[in-house]
Symmetry: C2
Subunit: 64 residues, 2 copies
DNA sequence: ACTAAAAGTTAAGTGTGCTTTACATCTCTA
DNA sequence: TAGAGATGTAAAGCACACTTAACTTTTAGT
């Protein structure tokens, strides 16, 4: 599962910690998701979509 | 997390077991998701979206 | 009413999403 | 070059996504 969190953060000049705060998860969780260590839960994906005003599919891309 | 799996199944006249097969999960998993016992993982949500040719948001609705 | 298939439910087990704590590395600027 | 903020990484632990197996209840056809 790929994702655009790092780019979306960069566009807004946010740190991992700031994004973590906005999504109410730990900084390590954001780091791990950005680095592809694991996939977010569906509720967390929805939260990110709401935050960035994008669809889940625009933020996260299934690699088959 | 609400979802339209039961309706989408009904439209196609599929059983829970058939949908489970198509999504490569157990029948109990489909039942539990339909009954709202837990949320699917993001990869499983993507798989369902591909299967039904719908967006994740069209199948699963976050209730806040 | 019988039967069979479908749906519902429960219990015990495995893997992973996410946590806290802690420490290491990188980058920038004073 | 020292220090601060940002990022990366690791370990231990908890909650939940998902499994298999087994059983009960509902639904529909004959």
């Amino acid at each position: 599962m790929k994702n655009k969190l790092k780019v979306l953060r960069a566009e807004r000049d946010w740190t991992q910690a700031q994004l973590a705060d906005a999504l109410e998860v730990s900084r390590q969780t954001i780091n791990a998701i950005e680095k592809g260590k694991f996939d977010p839960s569906l509720p967390l994906a929805f939260k990110a979509a709401r935050l960035f005003k994008l669809s889940i599919e625009e933020i996260f891309q299934d690699e088959e």
